[in-house]
Symmetry: C2
Subunit: 163 residues, 2 copies
DNA sequence: TATTGTTATACTCTATAACTATA
DNA sequence: TATAGTTATAGAGTATAACAATA
């Protein structure tokens, strides 16, 4: 007879399930983002600034796991479209203070609402209990931080990539 | 008072949690794969062939969501190391029959065992119930296939990428 | 001298197109 | 002519390095 443990172990690796799922989720968001005239990176920036304004671009890049140099064209565009404010700090003119404009907030909220509707349709494939546990677990693992994810309970492990 | 629904909706997007988790899982597997002298793609190929041998390279590429052209150097290497058999089908000499050698099976199994141990340490961060529900849900969603993931219950949606 | 932001360059991964051989 | 496999090339996305401004 086959034990419960054997059954559970007969599955794909977590990475082999998680990575393609992530790609599919990004692809699923794509048309929604396009309908709101946002790129993925632009949306990520708006989301980060909606959580909290940022005092430097480097801090923002760090918060979203992006390279410092890569968000610059994104910020240029968002600023030109008046979705973010980006002003030099008077007390340290090297620094750029970043925050959402009210229009930026509006665009972000409406985009996120559409994305949540998409996610709800997707999660409908799971029974209600599992659905809650799944989202909760995902959130929990996401909070862990790079090094604990890469080598749980363990030593150093490989460095975090810039993104 | 805040409703349960509001609390649940105050979270990151699924993609924003899933994609970084996937990257971390890949990074976590990296040292294990290196210790077994395998690249990620080599491991993916071994895993696919362990599930079922493949009659053509194209079918294998398709099964693992890879480009036909990209697995070729991987197969060259695995063959040179006697981890896979790769012989021309006598009935159609265009075709390459692919299967694991017994050494390939051994390497794959021992690598997967190490990866499972890593995953277990990681999943220890979740309560036992959630852990089971999480893995079960991940498996369920993974079975859905690209188009259902991208536009659940919906229309066409963007094409699947080659990988 | 150190740091923020920026620009220019290089690199990695992936996809596309062109070629060979079989059918 | 169509298909499997292969090779060579081009493209996207990303990271690295060098630079200007400010502290």
């Amino acid at each position: 007879m086959t034990s419960r443990r054997d059954i559970e172990d007969d599955r794909r690796d977590l990475a082999a399930m998680t990575v393609p799922l992530g790609r599919a989720l990004m692809a699923g968001e794509q048309p929604i983002l396009a309908a709101h005239d946002l790129t993925m990176w632009a949306y990520i920036v708006l989301a980060a600034l909606s959580r909290s304004p940022s005092r430097t671009q480097a801090a923002l890049a760090d918060a979203i796991g992006a390279d410092r140099t890569r968000i610059i064209p994104v910020l240029d565009d968002l600023q030109a479209r008046r979705l973010i404010d980006r002003t030099a700090d008077p007390t340290d003119r090297r620094v750029r203070l970043l925050s959402l404009t009210s229009e930026g907030q509006r665009v972000f909220r409406s985009t996120r609402t559409a994305i949540r509707a998409y996610e709800r349709r997707l999660l409908d494939h799971l029974p209600a209990n599992d659905r809650r546990a799944f989202v909760r677990s995902l959130a929990r693992l996401s909070e862990l931080g790079w090094s604990e994810l890469v080598s749980p309970g363990g030593q150093a492990g490989p460095d975090s990539p810039t993104r």
